[in-house]
């Protein structure tokens, strides 16, 4: 009876995806172990343990750190994954993230007239709007002028980066450190005692907001007519036109929502109260590109993205702890890259799982 239930899980689409992700992770980690062994065999095992333990090595605080690190990349991952569902490659998550971060910080610093409890909410809304705006333009260009979203988003990334630099300098500049000023206390996302539970300064209800977004997006994609339309547009533009679906509107909406998600990610990170400031530098926000990795590892499924974000945050914290041993921290990037690469073998893994479960079934029958 129990075996049957297990098999059902293995055979379900979800189960197969989950198992093949686990296999990708396992192989990626093994690859990492090999690298550790090559670079310093004597410490490889302890280093590897540190990676695997990740946030758990430091107890509740470590877990808190994982959740903090996961929040922004879950959001950008969700953004990229959501757009993927509509057949759009939102490589512009980085720019949207930056715009969102700026809007949140700007409101957090300048809108002093807001009363205590609503300040951070307004700031986060501003982040959503700014991100959405940055998604809107590529969306419009795609829908109206047929401009490939990849190229327009790449352009928007750079424009956003320089634009935000300009805006920081003229509005919220800490000249001494060449970064943004600290945000007001009231704009910091509440911690709701999570910090005491986890003993981590960083953690706040941002992660809960991210989870809420995951649920909302999951619902939106899979359960609503809107999601049905979006996916139809993603699969076939012509057929959705035939069906009377307003493809242009959907493309724009999809980019706007993707932008809002990335923007919110920026807001959640910079209002986390972790002492992070917007820097005036010509570097694209890496969270946007990490979002691509998270979305791919999570197979563009919102729930998958949630776990992928948590996992990458987990081993990123593990990577920090890896420094207790004599390894360059870049090892962690190599491992993550290997894991994502192994994600490409999903089809192979699925076949293996399929064969395995077949065999199992036969054995069960023969019993």
């Amino acid at each position: 009876m129990k075996a049957k239930a297990k098999l059902n899980f293995i055979n379900s689409a979800w189960g197969v995806s989950f198992l093949s992700a686990v296999m990708a992770i396992a192989i990626g980690l093994l690859f990492g172990l090999v690298i550790l062994l090559i670079s310093n065999a004597s410490e490889a095992l302890s280093g590897f343990t540190a990676i695997i333990q990740g946030g758990f090595a430091d107890g509740a605080k470590g877990i808190g750190d994982v959740l903090y690190n996961a929040t922004p990349i879950i959001m950008t991952g969700l953004s990229v994954g959501f757009a993927f569902k509509t057949g759009l490659f939102n490589i512009g998550s980085s720019g949207q993230f930056t715009m969102g971060a700026f809007a949140a910080v700007y409101v957090g610093i300048k809108w002093t007239f807001l009363s205590g409890s609503s300040h951070w909410i307004v700031a986060l809304l501003a982040a959503c709007i700014a991100g959405a705006l940055w998604g809107l333009l590529p969306g419009i260009l795609k829908a109206v002028a047929n401009v490939h979203e990849v190229i327009s988003s790449i352009m928007m990334n750079y424009i956003g980066m320089y634009f935000v630099n300009m805006l920081i300098v003229s509005n919220i500049h800490d000249k001494i450190k060449n970064q943004s000023l600290p945000v007001l206390k009231s704009a910091i996302i509440p911690k709701a005692n999570l910090d005491r539970i986890f003993g981590s300064q960083n953690i706040n209800i941002g992660i809960l907001i991210a989870v809420l977004m995951v649920v909302i997006i999951y619902f939106l994609i899979n359960k609503t007519t809107f999601g049905y339309e979006l996916k139809a547009c993603g699969y076939s533009k012509d057929a959705s036109k035939y069906a009377g679906i307003n493809a242009k509107r959907n493309i724009i909406l999809s980019m706007v929502i993707a932008g809002a998600l990335s923007g919110l990610g920026g807001g959640l990170l910079y209002l986390a109260g972790s002492g992070k400031y917007l820097q005036v530098v010509d570097i694209l926000a890496p969270q946007g590109f990490n979002g691509i990795s998270v979305a791919l590892l999570g197979m563009s499924n919102p729930i998958g993205i949630l776990f992928a974000g948590l996992f990458i945050a987990h081993i990123t914290v593990g990577g920090v702890n890896l420094q207790l041993y004599s390894f360059a921290p870049e090892v962690i990037d190599i491992i993550i890259a290997a894991i994502i690469y192994c994600g490409a073998f999903a089809l192979l893994f699925k076949n293996i799982i399929f064969k395995f479960s077949k065999k199992k079934e036969k054995e069960d029958e023969s019993i």
Binding site: S42, D65, N69, N165, K175, I176, K177, N178, P182, Q201, N202, S274, G275, K276, Y277, Q279, V280, V281, D282, I283, T316, V317, G319, V320, N321, Q323, L324, Y325, S326, F327, A328, P329
Partner: protein, 344 residues
């Protein structure tokens, strides 16, 4: 060559007693982190002590503090924190770990309001970059350059101080030489990053193309782009932080602050039981905190004697050199001989 991340001895114990946390850059950024790290390595190697550096997971106060936690966990007794970004993290850490010593470079602990709170276990070290910059600007004009440039990385305080000093030094030399008002031109900009990029190269090349003879490249790897442009344009570069003469033939001198030595000295004091906790040190010319490497410099007219003379003037505070807080931007430095062409 140092083994970047390796400990020198008995690393097996898992204990590293001298620690350094990097800020944004890497340990080999040709600049801040590297200078400080070399000091750590030199002292530890000489004294057979264990040492290690840590790279924070991101650029935030909490991530820096987490790295400090990590260093403590790995057995650090003294932690070097290069950069003002550590002001808040060290403010917290000095209370959290009263038994551990902290050396913070280019900053002092405070809560965010810039009121120094330097505890007994913390030593804060500043450099008078404006003096180093002054020396460079002075020497360049004395050596006959009148079309000059300043390319800063990001407009952070240390970079600004270098730049301001450079302008003032040039002006001072021009006055001494009795040049006409406005006869020295300095193009002045911050490029917005610390990287070697084609954009930076093109910018430097365009200056050289317009007649600029020497550019003070003040921003880590930005220097590599400037040197590249100088190599093709057959022009000159002034290096920064450390002696960069070995990196390119075009480097005529470097505007050095003695990071390495200062860290080395602070560690020596600590192990000698004379840790100057609670103090804020300003390492200026007076204590050899800044210099030009005259042996490797490629001056034609500017001599060691000239150098010594001006150096002594600086030591004796005969010249008032303005710092980053003293003027809004480089064009407001009230120079007469030097025209600052601010490009932003």
């Amino acid at each position: 060559k140092d083994q970047g991340n390796q400990a020198s001895s008995d690393s097996a114990s898992g204990k590293y007693e001298i620690a350094l946390i990097t800020d944004v850059g890497t340990i080999d950024d040709k600049s801040f982190n590297q200078g400080a790290w070399e000091g750590v390595v030199a002292y530890a190697e000489e004294n057979k002590l264990t040492y290690k550096y840590y790279k924070p997971s991101e650029k935030s106060d909490d991530a820096y503090l987490t790295s400090i936690d990590l260093a403590v966990k790995a057995g650090a007794k003294i932690i070097v924190c290069p950069g003002y970004l550590f002001e808040k993290p060290v403010y917290n850490a000095q209370d959290k770990y009263p038994d551990i010593k902290f050396i913070i470079l280019d900053g002092y602990p405070h809560t965010g309001d810039y009121t120094p709170v330097v505890k007994e276990n913390t030593l804060s070290i500043f450099y008078t970059e404006q003096e180093a910059g002054f020396l460079a600007g002075y020497a360049a004009v004395k050596d006959g350059y009148t079309k000059m440039g300043f390319m800063g990385g990001i407009a952070v305080p240390a970079v600004i101080r270098f730049g301001f000093g450079y302008v003032q030094g040039a002006d001072y030399a021009a006055k001494e030489l009795g040049l006409a008002d406005g006869s020295v031109e300095i193009k002045y900009t911050y490029v917005g990053n610390f990287d070697a990029t084609p954009e930076n190269m093109a910018k430097a090349a365009s200056w050289y193309n317009e007649g600029t003879e020497v550019i003070f490249a003040c921003g880590g790897a930005v220097g590599n782009s400037v040197m590249k442009a100088a190599e093709t344009a057959k022009t000159k570069v002034i290096g920064v932080d450390v002696d960069q003469s070995s990196e390119s033939q075009t480097v005529i001198t470097s505007s050095m602050k003695n990071l390495t030595k200062s860290v080395y000295d602070a560690l020596t004091e600590y192990y000698g039981g004379k840790f100057r906790g609670g103090e804020i040190l300003y390492l200026d010319a007076g204590v050899g905190g800044v210099q030009l490497p005259m042996e490797s410099s490629k001056f034609e007219k500017f001599t060691q004697k000239d150098y010594d003379t001006i150096y002594n003037k600086i030591i004796n505070k005969e010249i008032k050199i303005l710092g980053d807080q003293d003027a809004a931007d480089a064009s407001k430095l009230e120079t007469t001989k030097v025209v600052v062409d601010l490009i932003d």
